[in-house]
Amino acid sequence: MRLYDLLLRAYPPAFRDRFGDGMRHALASDLARARSRGRVAAGMFWLVTIWQAASLGLSARSVERRRRPHQFSPVPTPRGTNMRTLFSIDWRDAFRSLRATPVITAAAVLSLALGIGANTALFTIFNSLLLKTLPVREPQQLALLDDGSWTYPIWEQVKARESMFDGVFAWSNFGIDLAPSGATDMVSGAFVSGRTFEVLGVAAQLGRTITPDDDVRGGGPSGPVAVISHGLWQKRYGGAGDVVGKPISVNRVKYSIVGVTPPEFFGTEVGRNVELMIPFGTEPLLRPSALDARSTWWLEIFARLKPGQSLSDATSTLRGLQPLIRAATLPQDWPEADKASYLKEPLTMVSAATGRSALRSRFEEPLNVIMAVVGLVLLIACANIASLLVARAVSRRHELSLRLALGASRWRISRQLVAESALMSIAGGTLGLAFAFWGSRMLVRQLTTSATNVVFLDLHFDWRVLGFTALVALLTTTIFGLAPASGTMRIQPNEVLRERGRGVAGDARFGLRNVLVVIQVALSLTLVVAAALFGRTLSGLTTRDLGFVPDPVLTISLSAGKTGVPKDQFGPLFDQVVDAVKAVPGVASVGASFTTPVGNSAWNTRVEVPGMPEPTTGAPARDGRYVPWVNTVSPDWFEAYGMKLIDGRSIAATDRLGTPKVAVVNQTFATRFFPGQRAVGAHFKVDREEADIEIVGIVADAVYRSLRADMAPTIFFAQAQQEPGRDLMLSVRAAGGAPGALTRSIADAIGRVNPLIAMTFRPLSDQIGASLVQERLVATLSGFFGGLALMLAGLGLYGVTSHAVSRQRAEIGIRMALGARPAGIVAMVLRRTSWLVGIGVAAGAALSFWGATYVKTLLYGVQPRDLVTFVGAGAVLIAVGLVAAWLPARRAAKVEPTTALRSS
């Protein structure tokens, strides 16, 4: 459903019947125009449209009403009502009554919109990540071979037994470079098996999909073919109709486009939008083939269940065939023990109706935490609104009493109050939806860390999101609407009318407001504690001593796979590249290596050290602390990273193939494997290798893969002593300024050496920043919502105190006339508030103490029950509370006793 169809429902039915078509046309045309002028214009369009629907739609409804015979009477419900009038609600009265107190109404609607908006935004992401089914035919029938990582030989075995199911297909995500030469142009791609689209039930919107004929090794009769996504078709080809048959460069190999998938199709992984799909059969054209590798686990196997076939049926059918499948694909070179467990490991089918998602597992925990945070914010907002409305109800006691005295039933009056809350909920919910629309998109943009890791989620509102928002709005109405309504049940018109606003403290409803304020303070404290914990985690990670200086270093990932240079010439080719990059003006130093810190690839190995101490627990082979990380580096690499040599020498230019193997190790390695002795000069062996390796130097510890991990033992081998591979990482330290500025001239320099080398540039600080995306997201959001909660709690306290003070004016006047000093009055008011804040802080501290353990895994460098954080958060709340109470207290102390007494 389009959003504006929903908005049109705000107008009365007769109006809609008369103008619906024209309005829909006008809105669609205006929306298209606004979109073409950018995000801001589109945003303005929605704001104006929502506002108009809310204001004009409702007033049009009241005009409609006025046309019908309608008699206003001070006795709203005649005696002897039928059910229809009993439940009919006078929306117009409710609307007018809200308009009479615009500030309170606006404050309440805005708090509500923020609360509902934050919840809906998060729920939209939840929905898309966890609940939405794949946009394919009968997604409930899709199943996945658990846990989604299999070898190609296993797939061939499953495919040969396809009749077990209603069809099977294999899928493997794969980054694809579309640039024919020079710098890479990465999009997200996938290998698919021949019947993939047929089994999924996805038809091409243009051309055809991939067929079994295409999925043969080396390419089918049409050669290597590719199917592109709707998005790629629009972006790169402007949606041209003649795109079918055009060539496209896939990792520098020419494919031809045979079709375009429909717009809603994004692949099988939620969070990733696959732009280009090619058959598995063409994989050998692109890289050293893994099609026959029996221990390379790189693809997912999906099946469509037969009608009536359940997941457990499918699993048991598969298990019957398991011995055959396993035996035919047994990796021959594995140790016997591993072979035995390979044969035994059971195959299981799981549902794939919602696809699979790496994003889901990565962000499930932080999303849960943020969901809890926004839930708390909503509660605080509710408490605030309830407290505003109670205040409003209290000041309307006179009006309501008059109505009661004239014969209106309490039921009728309560209904009116509930109607007011409902109107506010509708307004807040609608505005909240608009907040959620932008909020969810902004959040998802934060998750995207690089061009190849674009997070894509389908964030359209569906019935679940709209239902969720409606439910939240309904719940909040109930929560904050009941408080004032219950108050009216107790009004004694006689007393109230006599009282005429001469209030005294000790009203029962102050009790309720006090409870609400205590709840607000407690929940806010919890959010402030959470924000502080996450903030300290992030700042701990960003200011952590990395062991190297990340700025200004530019990393360049090089691949010579498609240059046509023979394998034994990769070494000299890369030497030329390094020399060319060194000669670029502005480059201070250039290091070559297997991987870069906090990079995408990692390498570890077991080592044998003569006389190595046994670890205290577990076998050394399984204890991560005794399996060092490995990198291979060129002589200048340490210089490029600013890493300090502590002992011995660095890797030298003379360490080449043919000379004795050497290694530089880090300090942790030296102290762990050579405790109490000098490591330089010592020897060790690497798993499955004969050669003795001599340690020639020790460098200071540095982060290898993750900022959260402790410093781990690391070995640096000489790059020149390894068999040269087709890929290499360069790290370039710029002489000054932003390293990104060097991209252009370095790309030219490398292109002059060989134009077919593929290269991807990325500043090191980007790479490090990207690895903290989860922490940054949690810290930013909890900080934002913590601040919001603090503000709401402050407003709540201010409201309750100033209301109490204004009702106590007479009392304060008498006290002052009897000689109380202003300071005493201030103290009296503050004492009351301090009690509320004190109880709230204590309750909040208990709540946080209990809740903190749930976020333990998200923290770094700070204990979940950190005393400083708790005390600090408590102090912040007390400070906010005192300021909020001091303002009205000071006003009270300035009361002129004579005026106060005369006016009341």
Binding site: G22, A26, A60
Partner: protein
Amino acid sequence: MNTSTPLKPAVFHILLALADRESHGYAVMQAVREQSGGRVPMQTGSFYRHLSKLLDGGLVAEAAKKRADDDPRRGSYYRLTPLGQKILASEKQRLTDLVAAMGGLKAIKKLQ
């Protein structure tokens, strides 16, 4: 609705846009935006509210026949009724008189 002059600027512009041709709603909105150089804001919701009042007041009516190239999704076509034409003409006259009066004022100022 109060159809006596002076008319609200938006209403005046809508009548003006319908003066010499029948059109569908969005075309009228666009015409108003252009005529007024964007000075009269014309959003879908408010436009149709004005239109509904004009229809109720008998100044505007739905056009009976539609053009051959018509796209039904645009909604109905509208035209001025004789009453609408009369009111538009009198409002034009009123505004012209006003402008003339201002011209007279200027002339007096020049004399001084």
